[in-house]
Amino acid sequence: MSATLEVAGLETHFVTRAGVVKAVDGVSFSVDRGQVLGLVGESGSGKTVTGLSIMGLVDAPGRIAGGSIKLAGKELVGLDERGWRTIRGRKIAMIFQDPMMTLNPVLRVDTQMIEAIQAHEDVANDVARARCRDALGRVGIPSPEERLSAYPHQFSGGMRQRVAIAIALLHNPDLIIADEPTTALDVTIQAQIIAQVQKLAAETGAAIVWVTHDLAVVSGLSDRLAVMYAGRIIEEGPTAEVLTRPGHPYTAGLLASLPINNPRGRPLNQIPGSTPSLLRLPPGCPFAPRCGACQDDCTVTRPPETRFGMDRRLRCFHPLEASA
């Protein structure tokens, strides 16, 4: 039995006038049914493009240049637009970052939900509408029947995100890609949304790829954690292990910069510098210029992916500690 999602050697390139930007450069991971993978990284690390690639939604000038994306064993790379359309929304659903922007402001919620059902199934309007109402009820929207006839601007941010989640769950997808769905929300609402998605995923058995820059969010949510840097996964493993014993200096740096891990009254730890331009990556490890543990060999060749401990992968010549 294959995993719900298997991504192998995925490469998504953007051809620009200044050169080819390898936004996703050989990314591999897999997610099983009912599992949550946290995909973590700074802005520009390629985590969102990875999510969009899995949906086949990378816009020109970007394109999937290589690798494979398998959904329940079925290859998605190379599908034509018609083929993708049967997958999107039905097999793979996506929840986006800003709930203020994802719903069309001039269309009523029922229009936007019913069309999502009718895009894949030939059902009558009233049947579809009843399903939409149930879906809204499931994500915790009070008086769903009335709310169906409302416009997006009549919802709060958290409620809009619930609507977006309800739309994503309409076809009980095998896989949900959540691209920072809680970033734009209040902390209390964040917790509610996360709990909601967890519960619904457990009920339907959907696999989830949770894209975020917020380690705190994924720590309580994901089964496995993949840390991205400059278009590559530099560390991957079970969440608890990665968080307690990070192998890559970058992961350690991310953890050290969390306010909760810093003593009160002292300046926060930070990783010096910023993510490198993907057009001008250094020849060696892309993190080398910012790395405190950088040694001579780090600047010569790219560290290959190595097994680390029992169940972890790492791209670093000098891991922080030998894993048990």
């Binding site: 949906m55 939604l57 637009e81 359309r85 049967t86 997958i87 999107r88 929304g89 039905r90 659903a93 996506m94 986006f96 800003d98 922007m101 994802t102 719903l103 069309n104 402001p105 001039v106 269309l107 009523r108 229009t111 069309e115 999502a116 895009a119 894949h120 416009y151 601007h153 009549q154 977006a164 739309i167």
Partner: protein, 325 residues
């Protein structure tokens, strides 16, 4: 919704009042109508009599109130030239102009929006570039030149269409419309096209800009993520969003087409309001000019009112913001 409409009507009434004051001041208070009305050899007694009869000896504000009172009764005086009521003279010409403007508006909508959306969807291909270059040409061609060139080609060279005049018409509620009589359609084609060229270009550019902007929005990406077809995304999600600015502009343009189809009507000898205005200005027929201005003001106000109401059905945010206040 009712309160919204009511308040807009109140605002419209105020605009009409302000414009009435402006028109009154600019046409009635400046210059002396007596010089035009009386023979040059009239003596002082005759002049005084005429001034008293016309109420020109009263203070300006009394004259203005009289003007307003007559306006409220739809009385804007008699044409010096035709001797008949100025308002009914103009309204008699209105159907000709109205149908010209409406045909042009329909052309602008049904040619401009699809063309602009097509160009917006294919902005980096030769199709998109051709459409956008074409729209610049449509924009910059002088109206009268385009009309004359059409006459040269289709009326003189090819002899497919009549060069001017209105042709046979059909009657509706006692008004004459070319649209109602197919025999009159050939006469309508060239003037309507000439009037529409600029509007088509305008709508094309608006639709193009709107489409390009809408395509970058998250809701389009989310719609694609739902697995919707391109037709549904473009035809519903994009179209409904870009219609808002287009409706605004078309509303204003419809007003200006009705009011200022002067050039086109002159080129094609189309017996509409514009032609009447030009003739009246040439003959210093003041009541007709004033009546024309007031009718145009009323027309613009009315169209803007319609646009506002249409707006609120297109954009739910407008409607509800108003309902809440």
């Amino acid at each position: 919704m009712f309160a919204f409409v009511l308040r807009r009507i109140g605002q419209s009434a105020f605009v009409v009042l302000a414009m009435a004051a402006l028109v009154f001041l600019s046409v009635y208070a400046i210059g002396n109508p007596i010089d035009i009305l009386l023979a040059p050899d009239a003596d002082q007694r005759e002049r005084d009599e005429a001034i008293a009869r016309l109420g020109l000896d009263k203070p300006v504000w009394v004259q203005f109130l009289t003007f307003l009172g007559n306006l409220a009764h739809g009385d804007l005086g008699k044409s010096f030239v035709f001797g008949s009521d100025a308002v009914s003279l103009i309204l008699g010409r209105l159907p000709a102009t109205l149908e010209l403007a409406i045909v042009a508006l329909v052309l602008a909508t049904f040619i401009g929006i699809p063309l602009g959306m097509l160009a917006g969807l294919r902005s980096n291909t030769w199709v998109g570039r051709t459409v956008m270059t074409g729209s610049i040409i449509g924009f910059s061609l002088p109206n009268f030149w385009f009309g004359i060139m059409m006459i040269l080609l289709f009326a003189v060279e090819l002899q497919w269409l009549p060069s001017g005049g209105r042709g046979p018409t059909g009657k509706l509620f006692g008004l004459e419309f070319s649209l109602l009589n197919p025999a009159g359609w050939p006469n309508l084609v060239m003037p309507a096209l000439t009037l529409a060229v600029y509007k088509v270009s305008l709508v094309t550019r608006l639709a193009y800009a709107g489409t390009r902007e809408a395509l970058l929005q998250e809701y389009v990406r989310f719609a694609r993520a739902k697995g919707l077809s391109q037709t549904r995304i473009v035809g519903v999600h994009v179209l409904k969003n870009i219609l808002i600015p287009i409706v605004t502009v078309l509303g204003l343009e419809l007003g200006s087409m009705i009011a200022f189809a002067v050039v086109t009507e002159t080129v094609f000898a189309w017996p509409g309001m514009g032609k009447l205005l030009i003739d009246s200005i040439a003959r210093l027929d003041r009541p007709v000019i004033v009546a024309y201005l007031m009718i145009v003001v009323g027309l613009f106000t009315f169209i803007n009112l319609l646009v506002d109401i249409l707006y609120s059905t297109l954009d739910p945010r407008v409607r509800l913001a108003d309902a809440g206040s």
